[in-house]
């Protein structure tokens, strides 16, 4: 592996998470997938990833809550958390950024390659 940086993918849609996983691994990173907010926080603490891809509409705890709780933890205050969601309202974006998201991308507006390129940029 070029580098063994870890990317936590928080996404409940299996098809989307599969695509993410494949492409992230293709880019040379380790991909860890969580399907709900509670699991995401557990995995976050356990695996201490280098970057988080966070969907907002996830079960148990939504992405906003995960974001808020993650940023409360000192070790996760600075890691890149990229919100990638199909919620496109200004209020959602503002809220996410307000809670500490590093970037907010509307899923459908970007090609998968564009997203992977951004991840690469963050993990340089």
């Amino acid at each position: 592996m070029e580098n063994s940086k870890k990317v936590l993918i928080v996404e409940d849609d299996i098809h989307v998470s599969k695509v993410f996983q494949v492409q992230v691994e293709k880019a040379g990173f380790v991909a860890i997938v969580s399907e709900d907010g509670e699991e995401a926080l557990r995995v976050l603490e356990a695996e201490k990833p280098d970057l988080v891809i966070l969907d907002l509409m996830i079960p148990k705890k939504d992405g906003f809550e995960v974001l808020e709780e993650a940023r409360k933890m000192p070790e996760f205050q600075k890691i890149p958390i990229v919100v990638i969601s199909n919620l496109g309202q200004d209020t959602d974006k503002a809220r996410a950024l307000g809670l500490g998201a590093t970037e907010y991308l509307v899923k459908v507006d970007f090609s998968i390659q564009e997203i992977i390129n951004k991840i690469k940029d963050y993990l340089k």
């Binding site: 989307v16 492409q23 309202q89 200004d90 899923k107 459908v108």
Partner: protein
């Protein structure tokens, strides 16, 4: 007909009354006159008889009724008595008193009470030349059959008289020795007494006539007035009922309005409030009616209490225009009776206070709406838009990425046809995404959801930035963009830069798409000082808009036929979006066009005041 008859009847009664009173008056006056005449006659007879009795009838026997009587001592005695009688009877209206006797068919004076040297003196034996027949007859009657009588009024050279003729009878010898005549001045005395007697009944009659007339017309006028009053009373009663009905209607309407309604005067005193208002404030009506609203309620904005001069009511008082607040103003009201703040929206209208008893004074009508319902609805709408966007986009994301991966990873193994198909899929998804994004934006604008920061915009610079995005396409079609350089002061307008960019972008995109090759597109900014707005126009020499399509050109998804032929994959949403955005900042949008020659689109931005 009956009314007419009744009217005639009324005046007939009047006439009848007059006639009756008049007749009665005449009858009475006549009676009084007759009674007075009879009285006078009786008096005259009695008086003259008394005089006759006083005179010594025996002494007349010796008289000859000639000048020799003058030497007769009886003559003198009789004359003296007559003179004294005449003196005493002057006040009774008797002018002359004398004795006469009939001789042949004439009347001859016997003793006269007049003094010898008076021109009216008659010697004994002088013929009473002017004696009229009734006088003569009366004297004869007295002389011959001893009947006293009163003559009818007669006129001679001395005046108009009425004479009382009484026989002087010597009872001892049972012979009539003379006839005594007393003449009463008819006009002065007799008529005078009659007239006096008549005066009272005549006056009474006249008084009765006048009183009757007055009373009659008074009663009629009272009747008329009464009718008028009755009519007025009936009208008043009707009006009162109408007012009560209206009042009740108004009260019912006000009570049943689902929003709180409060009316205050210029001093903020509560004049009226409906049940919903009392519910919102937490007070009973009689607890706060008449009180100063500012003592009852606090207005809070964004968790800070507003001072009284910040209250939106003050704005309405000053501008005399309706002030409305929206959810975004984040207003709440608080009272001592309510535990929690109540989120509200307000609509405040000026009220001309003639109704409140202070003509000229202004009041306000405040409609208070519980904003929680609206907030809930708002949340639901927002939620819907969120969910809708998410649910639409999620499957699209899968399809897009899958097709992208297929394309990128399998370009060697796929045939050209398959690659083209995948590209088609990708393009289709991108188009769908654009449509969804525009729809969501439109939906948010229409719901007032897009609230971003407004800034001064350098419109010329922005136009140039947008233009850059089209440089490739314009190059391909050899299109030229001409724009006279007019710098618009950025401080003239306050806009969300994303929205204004979208508008310019959409209009330019259309101009570019529908222009024919090798033509010019003209874009121009201008300021209209009269209308206080900035205008942008963008002119193309493209396909233009057919007349039949012009009325729908701003409708969602509408595409004119010639447009569909030129550009097959347009969304039909860009102009709808332009219209929504322009209207949201209070501008206007319109176009001029000719099919086959081109179109010019215009939109305005209101200039910021001061």
């Amino acid at each position: 007909m009956l009314k007419h008859f009744a009217k005639v009847n009324k005046y007939l009664y009047f006439l009848l009354g007059i006639v009756i009173i008049f007749s009665v008056g005449i009858v009475y006056t006549t009676k009084v006159t007759k009674d007075e005449e009879a009285k006078i006659r009786k008096e005259m007879l009695a008086l003259t008889q008394t005089y006759a009795n006083v005179l010594d009838a025996g002494k007349f026997a010796s008289l000859q009724q000639n000048l020799t009587d003058k030497e007769n001592p009886d003559y003198k005695i009789i004359k003296d008595k007559l003179i004294s009688i005449a003196d005493s009877s002057k006040t009774l209206g008797i002018k002359w008193i004398y004795t006469i006797i009939p001789k042949d068919d004439q009347i001859v004076f016997s003793v006269d009470s007049i003094l010898v040297d008076s021109p009216e003196y008659s010697d004994p034996g002088d013929v009473y030349v002017d004696a009229n027949p009734s006088f003569i007859n009366a004297v004869k009657k007295a002389w011959e059959i001893r009947i006293s009588s009163i003559t009818e009024p007669y006129t001679d050279k001395w005046g108009t008289f009425i004479s009382t003729i009484v026989p002087i009878v010597d009872k001892e010898n049972n012979i009539t020795t003379s006839v005594l005549a007393s003449d009463m001045d008819y006009k002065l005395f007799y008529q005078g007494r009659i007239d006096n007697a008549r005066r009272l009944p005549a006056m009474v009659t006249i008084l009765l006539l006048v009183s009757f007339s007055y009373l009659f017309f008074y009663i009629i006028s009272i009747k008329k007035d009464r009718q008028r009053i009755l009519a007025l009373t009936s009208d008043i009663a009707k009006s009162k009922n109408n007012i009560l009905d209206d009042d009740l209607r108004m009260k019912t309407i006000i009570s049943s309005i689902g929003e709180g309604l409060i009316i205050i005067d210029r001093k903020y005193r509560i004049k009226l409030l409906n049940p919903k208002a009392t519910e919102l404030l937490g007070y009973k009506k009689n607890e706060i009616l008449g009180k100063d609203l500012r003592d009852v309620v606090k207005i809070i904005k964004n968790k800070t209490e507003l001072s009284f001069n910040e209250w939106p009511t003050e704005k309405t008082f000053i501008t005399k225009q309706i002030t409305t607040t929206s959810l975004e103003d984040d207003l709440s009201i608080a009272t001592d009776k309510q535990k929690n703040y109540l989120a509200v929206t307000l609509s405040i209208a000026p009220l001309n206070n003639n109704l409140m008893g202070d003509p000229g004074e202004m009041g306000l009508v405040i409609v208070v709406r519980d904003a929680n319902k609206d907030r809930e609805l708002d949340r639901v709408k927002s939620g819907f838009i969120s969910i809708a966007s998410h649910q639409l986009r999620a499957p699209l994301t899968s399809v897009r990425w899958s097709s992208e991966i297929l394309l990128s990873e399998n370009s060697e193994t796929l045939s050209k046809n398959q690659i083209d198909l995948l590209k088609e899929i990708n393009d289709g998804i991108k188009r769908l995404c654009r449509i969804i994004n525009i729809l969501l934006d439109i939906s948010r604008i229409e719901n007032g959801k897009i609230v971003r920061e407004k800034k001064p915009i350098n419109l010329t610079t922005m136009t140039e930035e947008v233009l850059k995005e089209f440089s490739l396409v314009m190059g391909k079609k050899n299109l030229v963009f001409s724009s006279p350089s007019l710098q618009i002061n950025p401080d003239l307008v306050r806009l969300d830069p994303i929205l204004i960019k979208q508008v310019i972008f959409n209009l330019l995109a259309n101009a570019v798409s529908y222009s024919n090759n090798n033509t010019t597109i003209e874009g121009q900014w201008a300021v209209d000082k009269e209308k206080n707005e900035v205008i942008y126009s963008i002119k193309d020499s493209g396909i233009g808009i057919p007349i039949a399509s012009q009325s729908r050109i701003f409708s969602k998804f509408f595409r004119a036929n010639n447009a569909m032929l030129k550009v097959s994959d347009g969304t039909g949403l860009s102009l709808a979006f332009v219209k929504d955005i322009v209207l949201s900042w209070g501008g206007r949008v319109w176009f001029e066009t000719k099919e086959g020659e081109g179109s010019t689109f215009f939109f305005t931005i209101p200039i910021l005041e001061n």
